[in-house]
Symmetry: D2
Subunit: 325 residues, 4 copies
């Protein structure tokens, strides 16, 4: 292993830059050269490569986004596209690849390796959604829940001033992790997640009872992928049937993808970046580097993308006991 | 002047609590008692008063929202409602009132004083919109622009990762101050404000040229009251006619009203709170306390609510020169 | 179990208020009354109790410090003091106690229970130091490392402008956890912890080589309890023997104890608060509620306070590979 | 004016990067080329220049520090040094220079222009100290006071938990502006500034009375240049003579120079950067660009560095009324 490549793929998440830095530094530590691939699989096909050394990753540890960019690539879905990507990597002398991304990125790598077993891929779970099996936390998740929480805190200020009802939509198309943790931490009166069927009539009844008893503001945190629909849809169904004079909707959107990564995300980035380089050096392939119980672990791609991660019953209970309603 | 009342009214803004604290401490300093009126003019009509002393305003200097609450009051729009409010104030022995709020709150106070000249009102401009004449800054504006800016910074991270086009809607129904300052500070590629007619075809052309030349992400900051409509409406008209593959819309909404007040807002709260108490003690009435050029000034309510504040030509030029397009 | 008491003890840490709230809400959920004890064991001896209900813990979830206060108590170290405390608890009808604190607080509770087995204590690890055995994280640690990290980020800005050498001292009298994580996340060039003997001549040599090779700023993060002494002592021994023109010392101090708790700390507060109430209801005693691998666990006091927690070899390796020198 | 140079000098301050960006963009807008001078006057003497275009200032608007670096230069204090600097500028074809810095930087420029009138200098007040005459605010001041305030807020959390006495030292060698504003905004119980003689016996008496009456924590904010000495010195003189059981000292130090610039600082950077370029184009020289009452103004260097700026009597009164003691 003389030269490896690293790239970011899929939705960007805070900590990706810190992770690129860790990959580069760990490689240098092991006398391995590093190429950065710009704009994901699309850039791989085009051979859009840039050599990365210590100076190249200087000053990025605390920056959101990804200096390598990301993109979707329809072409990589085709054997021809993957063939081109393979040729570009070979031409550049790449012996192994670190892919920082999610579910889809790992599936792409798996198909690639079936066709081109010469070049091993190792994955790092970079996604704010925390929806990959085999790691306690994905890279960016801790920052995203803190961003969501700061927004909920601010909304509480104004909600409380008016005793208003707020619907706050956080990210999470298939998974309610962001909603659940930011909602518990923000003292949300209710938390709606895709993993649990939403009972609108019950919710309406509970909001009514809560208003009756406590006269305070009420914040409902909703994952974007909840079965009841997003926050706007939910508000439409609820607001005229509850005693609050006014309700408001906030959709946090892409601010959850940005921002300076938290300490936890940067430490995760460091552990995973080093773990990925060491795995390649140990001739591993097709695995995701996870962190479980603070220890670095290796999880086969197929396992990691199975997506059958369940909401923790313990946290569900916490939400149930602490929510107001 | 033995006893004064203080209340918050209209949309809440960060710094209101610091201002309530300043009013109470300044009153105590001058041996004057203070009553807090809960929930604005509505609470005034109901006599929902609470004595405020040092302990009562302990620990609130850095908290968003307002401990006194706010509300709309249709009843106060009627002579009967104002008569009730007057009776409640008289019964409680109130000699003067400090109202922290905006435009509408000062107009309400003006009508009240015409009917009940016995009780003088002095106003403090508490609104994030910075749309009151006679003060360099309104209370909460500095916090709101920093909140908007933090969001724009986060969005830049993810926009840049994908070279995406973003439309970010900030508050400002009639005034573009939040959009202009947060947009300049966030390096927005274009800033759309109600005060300037938006030329959509020109905007489309400029976005196209910008993409052609620079290949970077593009962030358009839009005031909610812009004549082109909000961010969603704008995106609908623009996104298919520009070369960006993807565009995204973010509506910041009520997070702009919350949060810990900035240093500037807390100093403003201190200056204005003391200024209001001193004005009442000096038998002033019907004036708003402003701060101009760092000095406390007094501005008649009629002047302050004229609303003919123009966007600074100097800042418009700054935005023109620094925006990318 | 009809009535429980809760108090905070030892050095305060962010998340204590969120935890008090969780204890109160979990108790109410289980039809149990709650008394708050003010100012730790000192207040227990004086019977300084306050009933806590939902309203009493309203709006504190995001506030640093502790609404119950904390204090040292020499008197509780004596059998007479503990006897008084016991009588106060009995007189107030307290059936069980939740103590949120560290090492010393649990030892105090252990001695108390030996003398007065009638009243069971359950502990929650509230300390920024992360130095209790049996829990992945203590309450307040995540906030503290983020506070330290923010400071290091700011110092990097100015250090880089001048290519300066900085010594940054973070908290940690016996444990280097804060230094290690904030140092890794801040990209520190070296991290000095009590658990590893500091080799000053080697450090001087490494700083020299680093300056020679990279010409960048250099930040050394030092735990206050490092064997080389704190940051001032270290700077004295190092600064004249390295090629940097200027060095600066920053001691972060008590800002690391304050601030709004992070999302992780608030979720921990929720899990631990509920866990403690449920443990008392299940007739447990003398145990600390920890969270391991995201699951709530119960750890006997004696185990938790053994203090033989080692720095993770994995993180030490990470620091070694990523540090510049 | 075909080519201008820009550099940062003296202590760095947040907003310098945003200002460099504004200078570059304003120059490009006016078809003028820009050179960046690295490491202040020292780099000028060495001809350490780098061309700056749009890409070169991409992504720096929100970053603390200065991409151009800063340094002290003993050599520039000599005619020979200035002669070398002049030759370097001439050789590079520089027609005018923008210097972003403080007092000393402007004095250096003044002497330079006396000897080498061929090259005009225009200044931008970049310093956190707010101690330049002729501008309402200097660049970086608003960020610095918010950084100090955040620290005071965190210290209040832990001070309040223990009813402790804290001495917090903020920057300000000759000027108390940071102490005054952050102290007022942080609700400090006393604020000590260089401009007002500190009466230690009176302070001791007031702290005693405050403790007697209110039993709360007590935070004393001290400017580093206060006549009583810094926070450590003050604590030594005070702590044994007041009724607080414990006192703590925090010296905020260089964290006040770093961090993402606030919205106000970035708008100031934009206005001043453009103003400086326009002044050079209008053949102005030897002036500092200030902002007064939101308008860009030009102030001769001699005036700006006179240093006879007084603490606002209005703010002194505010501090007097609102402080606890």
């Amino acid at each position: 292993m003389k030269k490896i490549a690293v790239f970011t793929s899929g939705g960007d998440s805070p900590g990706m830059n810190a992770c690129i830095r860790a990959v580069v530094r760990a490689a240098i530590y092991n006398q391995v050269e590093v190429l950065g691939i710009r704009r994901g699989y699309a850039g791989m096909i085009l051979g859009d490569f840039v050599p990365l050394d210590r100076e190249g990753v200087q000053g990025i540890i605390n920056r959101g986004g990804t200096i390598l960019g990301s993109a979707r690539s329809a072409e990589f879905m085709t054997p021809e596209g993957r063939q081109k990507a393979f040729e570009q990597l070979q031409a550049a002398g790449v012996d192994g690849v670190v892919v920082i991304g999610g579910d889809g990125s790992f599936k792409g790598a798996t198909v690639f390796m079936e066709e081109h077993p010469e070049i091993p891929f190792v994955g790092i779970p970079g996604t704010i959604d925390n929806d990959l099996y085999g790691t306690d936390y994905t890279l960016g998740y801790d920052t995203a829940i803190n961003t969501a929480l700061e927004a909920i805190d601010k909304i509480r200020d104004t909600a409380e001033a008016y005793n208003r009802l707020f619907f706050v939509e956080v990210m999470g198309r298939d998974a309610g992790f962001i909603a659940l943790r930011s909602g518990i931490a923000g003292g949300a009166e209710a938390i709606l997640v895709p993993e649990v069927e939403t009972d609108i009539p019950l919710l309406i009844q509970q909001i009514g009872e809560y208003h009756e008893k406590h006269k305070h503001s009420c914040i409902i945190v909703v994952a974007e992928g909840d079965d009841a629909g997003g926050a706007f849809e939910l508000a439409k169904q609820v607001q005229d049937k509850v005693p609050y004079e006014e309700s408001r909707v906030t959709v946090l959107g892409h601010i959850q993808r940005g921002g300076t990564p938290t300490c936890a995300d940067r430490v995760l980035a460091a552990q995973m970046g080093i773990g990925a380089v060491e795995a390649l050096l140990a001739n591993k392939r097709g695995i995701m580097i996870g962190v479980q119980h603070k220890q670095v672990v290796e999880v086969p791609f197929e396992q990691s993308t199975k997506h059958n991660i369940e909401i923790s019953p313990s946290l569900k209970k916490v939400a149930h006991i602490l929510s107001a309603i």
